[in-house]
């Protein structure tokens, strides 16, 4: 037998070093995809699936054929579209936040504001909800102050109602993320050519004119990427925020697709196949969205973001 030359040996040895980690990736990232087969079976835990439980596209058909199911899907799609839509509509907010933060001349105040507004990004949604509960609960500070001032007589159930829930969810999201999202724009602002601004000043441009004609146009490429990412994730708002904020009063309006899939599965183990079927459909649409936005980005910007 021929002996391996040292180069080939090394090349295999290096592969050997990473092999254990590749196995972890296979097990924890690729193996879950195998779980998609459950959508094609009559799976009733703890009985394992087999040839006899195979039902083809039965569960996919139920989504359309069962009127209550179809209604439910439309309801959560409405919520998903509404909340993603609001986020998309206000996606310029962190940019404007950064632009005017940059206008603050007092350096220590600017630094302080930036530090403080970024902090909420690093706490979990559970903690956000804990804050919301203590501040806006029926016995919370907001209700107590409003009552003391005589503005209201009875506590307002801010959390236990579906009123303006989509907008409230956007507010919490913004409270948590705006400062963080602004950092990227602040970096882009510091990259703007100082000479351009000086030249504009010499020509007598006002501050608003500089912002409008120099700062914002140079931020638009970054903004464009953010909008594209927003579009790619249009169906995936995640479930954590909505899960912690949901209750019997607001459930019909807060349930987004990701949360619906989870809630469905907890309503009984028999629901596993159906919720898997829905998440498969979601994944397919999301992949299409990702490639579509990436293509648009390539056409307009010359490069994609994948």
């Amino acid at each position: 037998m021929q002996r391996l030359n040292p180069k080939t040996k090394r090349s295999f040895l290096e592969f050997g070093y990473i092999l254990p980690f590749l196995i972890i990736v296979l097990l924890f990232s690729y193996f879950p995809l195998y779980g998609w087969v459950y959508a094609f079976h009559d799976y009733k835990p703890p009985f394992p699936i087999g040839a006899d439980t195979f039902v083809g596209f039965k569960w996919f058909a139920t989504i359309i054929n069962n009127p209550t199911r179809l209604k439910g899907v439309f309801r959560v799609l409405r919520n998903t579209f509404a909340m993603s839509g609001i986020s998309l509509f206000f996606s310029w907010f962190p940019m404007i936040f950064a632009v005017f933060l940059n206008e603050i001349k007092n350096k220590s105040f600017r630094k302080f504001t930036q530090t403080v507004t970024t902090l909420p990004n690093f706490i979990s949604w559970v903690l956000v909800y804990a804050f919301a509960f203590t501040l806006f609960g029926t016995n919370g500070a907001v209700n107590s102050v409003l009552k003391d001032l005589g503005v209201i007589e009875k506590s307002i159930p801010f959390l236990q109602s579906s009123e303006h829930i989509w907008f409230k969810m956007w507010l919490w999201l913004t409270w948590k993320n705006a400062g963080w999202a602004a950092i990227m724009y602040l970096a882009a602002i510091s990259g703007i050519d100082e000479q351009m601004i000086e030249a504009a000043k010499v020509d007598g441009a006002t501050r608003m004119q500089i912002i409008w004609h120099i700062t914002i146009p140079s931020l638009l490429p970054t903004y464009f990427v953010i909008v594209m990412l927003n579009l790619a994730n249009f169906l995936s708002n995640g479930m954590e925020q909505y899960y912690v904020f949901q209750n019997a009063f607001n459930k019909d309006f807060i349930e987004v697709l990701d949360l619906y899939v989870y809630n469905l599965s907890t309503s009984g183990t028999g629901m596993y196949p159906l919720s898997t079927a829905i998440s498969i459909l979601k994944s397919v649409v999301s992949v299409v969205l990702l490639f579509a936005t990436n293509t648009v980005s390539k056409l307009i910007r010359g490069e994609g973001f994948i």
Partner: protein, 314 residues
Amino acid sequence: MEKTEISRRDLRARTRIRTSVSDRIIDVVTYIVYVLFAFVCVYPFYYIIINSISANNLSERGKVVFWPLEVHFKNYESVMKIPGLWDAARNSILRTVIGTVLTVIIAAFLGYMFTRQTMWHRKLWYRMVTVTMYVNAGIIPWFLSMKLLGMTNNFWGYIFPMIIQPFYIVLCKTYCESVPQALQDAAEIDGAGTLRIFFRIMLPVIKPILATIAVFAAVNQWNAFQDTLLLMTKKELYTLQYVLFQYINQASSLKALVSNNTSTSALMASLAHAATATSIRMTVTVVVVFPIMCVYPFFQKFFTKGIMIGAVKG
């Protein structure tokens, strides 16, 4: 000739006045808006802290708004007596420490290994790892396969699914590529093997990026909530985040604790100090948020650096 000169000067003077007035207005408005914004971001943290040390009968009715009233620290004493909380704290700390260490080491090692041109099919493996950033099976398939892998009701369920983070690996690889190749070449001539080069040469050099990754991984581990929700049913495996959520959302889980507490010590403790559902909730919230608040000011520059690198990539 002279006339135009005057009018031009006049015009310039007038513009200067106009700009300075509009400048003032912009300044004032920006300051007000940002002071408000900063207040809104800080106040909830402040509110929860002053309430956890104020008289419980006042904080329960939302009367502690500006500063602490009748300061006492009994709440922290009563919270320490909740048996489940120690388990939860231990789990949260353990998963944060173990998870962070492993995530960082793996990101560093794989990031470096993926720069090794000599590796067999290097590009294929690199792609295999990075594609997982966009692969998401969905909650139920994920849960069912984790169950098959024995990750349910198992502490390692907090660790294994999270330790390989493709994004961090990409960051490390990019950083390794920016290190001069000559450094590795010199070591290789001296006869150092792949592993030796990694541990002796690359690891010390890429420390800055590892610090950033460590901070992010630690915050993610500390804040994780969904994996407990999906994988764990045993009480002794709950994390602080999960226990806090239960305290807020399931009044029943707290009622038992409170009544237990009142039956034994209500006679001794005054109304201001006796534990209530609200006081426990607020105190536990402080316990959970405190580590983040302590760590944040010192590591802020790492956070900022993290998003910059991410931005360059995106």
